[in-house]
């Protein structure tokens, strides 16, 4: 089962390696991990997407909580939540037909073309991981030059929030 775990962690050097080291040392899967400081610069927020049986997920959350730098943890996938991922994708767009088709697909997916050259388009697209996958599929006819994905960020719906 896929799970999304959000943590608030002291924004200190080495915090990321403690988390990454925990996953590798104990043989847990990481599908994606995102991290950046929060509105309080002393704290970082991480979103970790992982897979495992309930028992493994329980151990993962306990082991993460046990890290001295982890201030708070929430398993987003246990409740109603929103996830988003951002992708930058550079596509060959040299002929008129290519340019039109790529633009049309980007519009359908509500992406933005954020860089244009005579031969390429770069599109920014935000959404669930699935939506990003579908967009890549939709571009099958085109030559993709590069994709950059941010990994998933997540937040709980409603009043529930991960804060100290």
């Amino acid at each position: 089962m896929r799970h999304i775990i959000s943590i608030l962690i002291e924004n200190e050097a080495g915090a990321l390696s403690r988390v990454a080291g925990l996953f590798s040392a104990r043989g847990y899967n990481i599908e994606s991990l995102t991290v950046a400081p929060t509105e309080d610069p002393s704290l970082s927020r991480m979103t970790i997407v992982t897979t495992g049986t309930d028992r493994i997920i329980e151990q993962i959350t306990k082991q993460l909580n046990k890290l001295i730098d982890v201030v708070k943890l929430m398993e987003l996938s246990s409740g109603s939540h929103i996830e988003r991922e951002m992708m930058l994708i550079k596509v060959k767009a040299a002929t008129m037909a290519q340019r039109e088709d790529v633009k049309r697909l980007a519009d359908i997916f509500r992406g933005h073309i954020i860089d244009v050259t005579t031969t390429t388009y770069t599109i920014e697209l935000t959404g669930s991981g699935q939506k990003l996958d579908s967009f890549i599929e939709a571009l099958a006819e085109h030559k993709i030059l590069e994709t950059v994905r941010s990994g998933v960020s997540g937040i709980a719906r409603g009043e529930k929030s991960l804060q100290i």
Binding site: E10, G21, R55, E58, V71, I164
Partner: protein
């Protein structure tokens, strides 16, 4: 008061009440060593290898309950310390290890004697710190002690770059009285609802079993445990790490459980219907085959570390909290409860247990013309009246010491259980002897293990530590040989010790007394002679039966009721299983 970083460090240790600092100097810590010079508050013990510094600090911590403290230099000093840090980590021992580091400006440049100590130790510490600013130094040291000694204890490394300790940079010194870390707030009290559930379940048991571990020793909860066990009248077993927290000769005590546990303890585990685990972590040497672990039991688990609970074995009533607090609560509930243990069922259960006990699984050949290792340990118990602090190395001798010494006080049995570190015994004994100069401290070892830290005989001379070394010399890496006998058809691949040193001469060369014992009739008198030399270190090189094995034994991955038994155990027919 303006002090340099080096002076601050030493003041912090003093203010923390550190008696002994186990260490070894080198470039990155020379400023600190200079600050140690000409002060008398913190006694520095110069070991002969950094691994020994960590084990000595660890032994000190296990015997006293206070944190052990270590100081080593950067690079090889730090890497040499890693084995000892990992040893302490696996057994949850409180320790603060200060490692020197190259100057901040040089970090990351492959500078002389630079290793990423924080990175290398990360997986085997409770936490670690790199001090990047002298203004953070005192608070970091305070945090290190706080983290090491609270919650589930463990080693904490503080990496201190050389420029932080520069004698020319001085700042005001203030050692914080306490620290508050928003990200670390260990829980002490157990949940009252869970405790009530546990007490109800315990009182409904027909075949109860109490399984306790190192957490009772670490949490200083022997008194509470004894009261709990006696109130209930239930059988109790302890892990290797819990020995001494309940008296060995009490009739309710079934001995150690697990791979080399007693027949009665393991059978009772297998057949119980309610199990309460107290400060024990369901290690694989204890559980054996997971699928057949306590097949009929509902399980209660008290542990201060939530991640120990339901890690390998799923439990029914988890209680997160400090053992002493939780047992206090349980004891008062038991007193108030109108319900009492089920006497009739309990009588039957004890009858069954006594039938297992009657097999006398710890029997061995008492008429052999060779010295039996078990006999050595029994005599050791008699000579020391069961009051010694016993450290051990790793192997067969460790198991025999655990099985035959008979501990009735906690903190007296000091061994590396989780990591199983050969080389632990002698340095650990040094730490214990420093803590308790008047007590008898024995290191039970093998001719293999002792050679892993033998250089510490020199440290013992320097500080006048009259440790008694009892070496069960079987000329084999005996534990390895035993597995090869049982599971590799006697193919003794590289488990034989050829060209052993003359331990007597070696000990004498280090300035101590060596005694070699070869004949059964010399055993007791020579041991008595050794222990009469109160102020000398004596190395007893005891030539034991090479072929002796540790029994009982549950092979790895086998169930509790599937044991290799000693050929000398009483093996009548399996008693009728009258399970109600």
């Amino acid at each position: 008061m303006e002090l340099s970083g080096a002076e601050i460090l030493v003041h912090c240790l003093k203010d923390e009440g550190v008696e002994y600092l186990f260490g070894y100097p080198g470039g990155a810590v020379l400023h600190i060593y200079d600050a140690l010079y000409n002060q008398e508050d913190v006694n520095h013990i110069l070991v002969r290898h950094e691994q020994a510094a960590t084990h000595a600090a660890d032994g000190y911590a296990r015997a006293t309950g206070k944190p052990g403290v270590v100081l080593v230099t950067s690079g090889p000093g730090a890497t040499n310390a890693v084995t000892g840090i990992a040893t302490a980590y696996m057994d949850s021992i409180p320790m603060v290890v200060i490692t020197g580091q190259v100057a901040t400006a040089n970090i990351g440049s492959d500078a002389f004697q630079e290793v990423d100590s924080v990175g290398i130790t990360r997986p085997c510490v409770k936490h670690n710190f790199l001090v990047k600013d002298i203004h953070d130094l005192a608070e970091t040291i305070k945090k290190a002690f706080y983290v090491a000694t609270t919650g589930r204890p463990g080693p904490v490394v503080v990496d201190v770059p050389k420029d932080i300790t520069d004698p020319n940079i001085k700042i005001p010194y203030h050692y914080p009285k306490q620290v508050n870390m928003r990200s670390y707030q260990p829980k002490v009290k157990g949940h009252p609802g869970q405790i009530k559930k546990a007490v109800d379940l315990l009182l409904s048991a027909k075949r109860p079993m109490i399984y306790t571990g190192g957490g009772v020793v670490l949490g200083n909860a022997s008194e509470q445990l004894r009261k709990f066990v006696r109130t209930l009248g239930y059988p109790i077993t302890t892990t290797l790490m819990g020995l001494g927290s309940y008296p060995w000769n009490d009739p309710q005590f079934l001995g150690m459980l697990g791979m080399h546990g007693t027949y009665e303890a393991n059978m009772a585990m297998h057949d119980c219907d309610v199990l309460i685990a107290i400060g024990a972590r369901f290690d694989d040497r204890v559980t054996g085959k997971i699928a057949e672990f306590c097949p009929d039991a509902e399980i209660i688990h008290i542990d201060i570390d939530p991640s120990s609970i339901s890690k390998t074995i799923t439990v029914d009533v988890p209680i997160v909290g400090n053992v002493a607090d939780v047992l206090d609560d349980m004891n008062s509930q038991l007193e108030l409860s109108s319900k009492k243990p089920n006497k009739k069922a309990l009588d039957q259960w004890w009858k069954l247990i006594e039938s297992w006990r009657a097999k006398k699984c710890m029997s061995y050949d008492r008429n052999s013309d060779q010295i039996k290792p078990q006999a050595v340990i029994e005599i050791l118990h008699e000579i020391t009246k069961g009051n010694a602090y016993v450290t051990s190395d790793v192997g067969q001798h460790q198991m025999w010491a655990a099985q035959y010494y008979g501990f009735d006080k906690p903190n007296r049995w000091i061994n590396s259980g989780g990591l199983g570190t050969m080389g632990f015994g002698l340095p650990a004994a040094m730490g214990v002897q420093l803590a308790f100069p008047e007590e008898t401290v024995v290191c039970v070892t093998g001719e293999g293990s002792i050679q892993m830290c033998i250089q510490e005989l020199s440290t013992c001379l320097q500080y006048g530590l009259p440790v008694k070394i009892v070496a069960l010399n079987n000329r084999y890496l005996g534990m390895v040989r035993q597995w090869q006998e049982f599971f590799y058809q006697n193919r003794y691949s590289h488990s034989y010790m050829e060209s052993l040193p003359d331990f007597v001469k070696l000990t004498e060369a280090y300035g101590h007394v060596g005694i070699r014992i070869e004949r059964v009739e010399d055993l007791r008198p020579e041991m008595e002679r050794a222990f009469a030399m109160k102020d000398r270190l004596v190395f007893l090189d005891i030539v034991t039966d090479q072929t002796e094995n540790v029994y009982p034994m549950i092979a790895q991955g086998k169930a509790h009721n599937d044991m290799h038994m000693s050929p000398y155990a009483d093996l009548p027919q399996d008693p009728e299983r009258e399970l109600s």
